[in-house]
């Protein structure tokens, strides 16, 4: 009886795993991910970013808040170590630090563009922007996916690849690897999504 019970449990478990595997293989596509990401039109979160630079003896930590609104607005407020407010709207990026505001055109700064565009594109689920600049590979399940973006061959933005993890329509981390080996990891926490048609995701 016990043995049977165990076997049943095992079988159920195995079935479940099979199901979940086949389900993710058949259904969880880049299109679906983008739909899930795009299903909310705005959101806010906190972030902690660790930047590893070869020239520095130890990584630089920074943290702050993110907020975004589809289709193209992203605000990144760094609170630690120095307050800096970065506003990105369309092609225009403004950076406020030390009481001064600087406005740049994203198209003039491909390196910055690669960073902020991938963050913005992912957070708001802009498939077109991402597909235009990167080759996308999705791995994992709906509840634990990993999206890898590799810049198109002709992009001279210094980025080797961008790896994004998340669950359903929520992004959990963004790791950016640069061609020179420097890299940064941004962990996204306390994500609150607005929007009526937000996709429910499993705990």
């Amino acid at each position: 009886m016990k043995l049977l019970n165990f076997r049943v449990q095992l079988a159920v478990c195995f079935f479940c795993i099979m199901c979940s595997c086949s389900a993710s293989a058949a259904e969880w596509t880049v299109e679906q991910l983008m739909q899930a990401l795009a299903s909310h039109h705005s959101g806010r979160a906190t972030f902690t970013e660790t930047t590893y630079l070869a020239m520095l003896k130890r990584p630089v930590e920074s943290s702050g808040e993110l907020s975004f609104t589809a289709p193209d607005y992203l605000q990144k407020t760094t609170l630690v170590p120095k307050r800096e407010v970065l506003n990105l709207r369309g092609d225009e990026i403004s950076i406020e630090r030390k009481g001064r505001k600087h406005v740049l055109r994203l198209s003039d700064y491909p390196q910055i563009a690669a960073f902020v565009d991938s963050i913005r594109g992912t957070l708001v689920g802009d498939h077109a922007v991402l597909a235009n600049a990167y080759r996308m590979t999705l791995a994992g399940s709906e509840n634990n996916w990993q999206l890898v973006l590799i810049p198109n061959a002709n992009a001279a933005n210094g980025v080797r690849q961008i790896a994004i993890t998340g669950a359903a329509g929520s992004v959990a981390s963004i790791e950016i690897m640069q061609t020179d080996g420097d890299h940064s990891v941004m962990r996204i926490e306390n994500l609150q999504l607005d929007g009526s048609n937000a996709v429910e995701h499993a705990p």
Partner: protein
């Protein structure tokens, strides 16, 4: 045997005039429309507008087709222009100079950066600066500088880049500038030639068009519906010259045809017609020669104005032909000439006042008209009698005169009543609209059509070229002095900028610091050993190793003893244009121009800025608000024109009073002229058109021209040939002035619409008011 010497003098005069005309230069630049500025600051501004870098800009836009086609054409057009000698720089947003700009800033960072000071390179200073840089590396904004950090750990390049405000830079599509809505690709080029060199600017326009056509014809067929539009001071000058040229040619030939046709009908004699044109031809020849001798060149506008002279000068021959026939031929000189002479003197007084105008264009018109009228009148007086057969007759004019006399006699009192009513109604209208009568803006005089001004504004918005409204000008005996003044001023302005009092400013000293400042910055750099020691101390807390900063140490050592930055070091960068436009030499004096940007929707706090500048003892700084400055300038010219007109009026009244010696006849001359002026003003009010400076001059010319008629009518007994000659003469005058009303050049149009109708009214009012058909008319009053 008649005395033939007047003929000889006349012929010699014409030969002389022809020689002068042969050497005359004809211009169409803007100088005629820009006032001969009274203050040095205004002079500098006018000079900048005419010859400065601002005058050399050509703004271009490519419309039509698809966005891809437009950006492709923009790239290829820019490439063609960059390879041309005609252009100093062409910018369409492609980063052609961006790399050189950054390299320049990087190479010269230790003499350019405002952060350089001894404290900046102390242990604490280095720790703060390098710490900031490290923090910045964590931010996306720091990525752009990652490659520099080991050579520029104190962030000087970032400091320099921060002075820029490319927020106003145009939007880009496919790497080239486009308008905000993306419908136009926009480019800007700076020409080698000055904006005042209209011939060179014309060549520039031709070259741009040719380049565009070549680019477009190389495109696949879809690209054929692209259009190129151009704007800018040089383009305006070329367009203005073209429109003035075509209009003066068209108006002159049209008025000549109309006047000849009209005179043929009246004279019925080809011979009389040709003789009648002698005074006109002589008048035009002598007046061109006179203007050329006095001003060194003749403006196209002056020639266009010559059409009015055709209409005026032909009058004297008309008076002679119509009045001096048959029995009256013998006593024409004693009977009619004195009145004509008085008319000539009055007209000359009128035009003479223009000569004192501060607008070179108007002064030319004055001299041109004066010389022409005097020559034409003297030709009619001394030459025509010698060459006209005594048997000449103008029967049509005779019959016309007889009919007019009858018409004038018909119900005279009711005609007069109409004049009085008209005068009262017009007077009330003018008084009630006294406030809104005059146009306050100088742009009313601009020869640039509204559509072209609108295109220019659109392109300036597209290109993010801010309106240059506020300008701080500083003077200095030499470049070094003026740069040092500019540096002191920029310190003040930076404080104001940080306080939010102003939104931005620019200065040549940013790109080219004075030698003194460069030397002091070099002196602030520590020597290599000191730097090493301080760096080790400063980096103790920071995640950066000192041995990674060898290039930084070497760069500081090199900068400390590098030769000073010269203007020629800026060549090939976009800073060259900025430095050249903001630092100018003029008449042995150097000037720095510092454009200031007001906060959005606000005016600049001029008093605050002046006070702040005074604290650093910059006394000769002039803060110019170009908008209010031009308004003031216009107001002063308006006042000047008003005073001149009033003075001219006073002179005319004196001349009339002295020669008529009769209060009654004096009033009889003045009343119809005044009524004509008031009615014309009222008409403008009713048409909701505001009067400008040139309308004012036109009103004054109504008096000058109309007095000819009033004088004849006030002479006493009216003869049919007098009335006929006046009607014929008036018709030719109205043709001459009236055609100007159809010009699209505002200056000509204003005078045409004023004097044309005014001359007709002056004749009619003189006829019904002054003409004493019988003596009893005077005793009626």
């Amino acid at each position: 045997m008649k005395n033939k010497w007047p003929l000889l003098i006349w012929v010699l005069l014409l030969i002389g005039a022809a020689i002068v005309i042969g050497k005359t230069r004809f211009t169409a630049d803007f100088s005629a429309f820009l006032p001969a500025a009274p203050t040095p600051a205004q002079q500098l501004l006018v000079d900048q507008l005419q010859n400065g870098v601002v005058s050399r800009l050509v703004l271009m836009s490519v419309t039509g087709g698809s966005a891809e086609e437009r950006s492709m054409v923009s790239q290829q057009l820019a490439a063609k222009l960059r390879s041309s000698e005609m252009f100093v720089a062409t910018n369409n947003g492609e980063p052609v100079s961006q790399q050189r700009d950054q390299q320049f800033l990087f190479d010269h960072r230790y003499v350019l950066s405002p952060a350089i000071s001894a404290e900046h390179f102390s242990v604490a200073g280095l720790q703060t600066a390098i710490g900031d840089t490290v923090d910045m590396l964590a931010s996306p904004a720091g990525l752009a500088m990652k490659g520099w950090v080991e050579r520029d750990p104190t962030g000087e390049v970032m400091q320099l880049l921060e002075q820029w405000n490319p927020a106003q830079a145009p939007t880009k599509y496919n790497g080239v500038w486009v308008s905000r809505d993306g419908q136009r690709a926009v480019l800007v080029a700076q020409t080698q030639a000055s904006g005042a060199d209209t011939d060179a600017q014309q060549a520039v326009i031709v070259a741009i068009n040719a380049a565009f056509d070549a680019v477009q014809s190389a495109l696949p067929e879809m690209g054929k519906n692209l259009h190129l539009q151009m704007s800018g001071p040089g383009v305006f000058a070329v367009q203005a010259r073209e429109s003035i040229r075509t209009q003066s040619e068209r108006l002159a030939s049209l008025s000549l045809i109309l006047i000849i046709g009209f005179l043929l009908v009246v004279y019925r004699s080809l011979r009389l017609l040709l003789l009648g044109l002698l005074p006109v031809a002589a008048g035009i020849a002598v007046s061109i020669a006179a203007v050329s001798l006095r001003f060194g060149s003749v403006h196209g506008l002056t020639l266009a104005f010559g059409t009015t002279l055709i209409g005026e000068a032909v009058d004297y021959a008309i008076y002679f032909f119509v009045q001096a026939q048959g029995a009256t031929r013998a006593n024409w000189r004693s009977e009619f000439w004195p009145t004509i002479r008085l008319g000539v003197i009055i007209s000359v007084c009128g035009f003479a006042t223009l000569m004192f105008s501060g607008f070179p264009g108007l002064a030319q018109l004055g001299l041109y008209s004066m010389a022409g009228l005097i020559t034409a009148a003297l030709t009619a007086r001394y030459v025509l009698p010698l060459v006209t057969p005594t048997t000449m007759a103008t029967p049509i004019a005779q019959r016309l005169g007889n009919k007019l006399i009858i018409l004038l006699a018909y119900r005279r009192s009711s005609w007069r009543g109409i004049v009085i009513v008209l005068a009262i109604v017009a007077g009330v209208i003018v008084v009630r609209h006294g406030d809104s009568l005059w146009n306050e803006s100088l742009s009313a005089l601009s020869p640039v059509p509204m559509s072209a001004q609108a295109l220019d504004e659109q392109l300036r918005t597209d290109l993010g070229a801010p309106d240059v409204r506020y300008m701080l000008t500083l003077a200095g005996a030499d470049k070094e002095t003026v740069l040092r003044n500019a540096e002191r001023a920029t310190q003040v302005l930076q404080t104001l900028l940080d306080d939010g009092a102003i939104a931005g400013f620019d200065s040549a000293s940013r790109y080219l610091p004075s030698n003194a400042l460069q030397l002091s910055r070099q002196a602030a750099l520590p020597d290599t050993d000191a730097l090493r020691v301080r760096l080790t101390a400063a980096l103790r807390e920071l995640p950066l190793d000192a041995d990674k900063l060898q290039e930084f140490i070497a760069a500081v050592a090199a900068a400390k003893k590098s030769p000073l930055l010269q203007r020629s070091d800026l060549d090939g960068t976009s800073f060259a244009l900025a430095a050249d436009s903001l630092l100018v030499a003029r008449n042995g004096q150097w000037y720095a121009l510092l454009p200031l940007q007001a906060n959005n929707g606000a005016e600049i706090p001029a008093a605050k800025i002046r006070a702040a500048l005074a604290t650093v003892a910059i006394d000769d700084a002039v803060l110019i608000d170009i908008t209010s400055e031009t308004a003031q300038l216009y107001a002063s010219y308006f006042r000047e024109a008003l005073h001149l007109s009033l003075a001219g009026l006073a002179v005319i009244c004196c001349v009339i009073a002295l020669s008529l010696r009769s209060v009654q006849r004096f009033i009889a001359v003045l009343v119809p002229l005044s009524v004509a002026v008031v009615v014309v003003m009222a008409a403008f009010v009713l048409l909701e058109q505001r009067l400008n400076l040139l309308h004012l001059i036109g009103l004054f010319l109504i008096v000058a021209v109309g007095s000819n008629y009033a004088l004849f009518f006030a002479r006493g007994e009216l003869q049919p040939q007098t009335v006929a000659s006046l009607l014929v003469a008036n018709t030719t005058t109205v043709i001459g002035f009236g055609l100007l009303a159809f010009s699209t050049v505002p200056v000509l149009q204003a005078i045409g619409t004023t004097v044309g109708p005014g001359a007709v009214l002056a004749l009619i009012f003189s006829a019904v008011w002054s003409a004493p058909a019988t003596r009893s008319n005077f005793s009626e009053r």
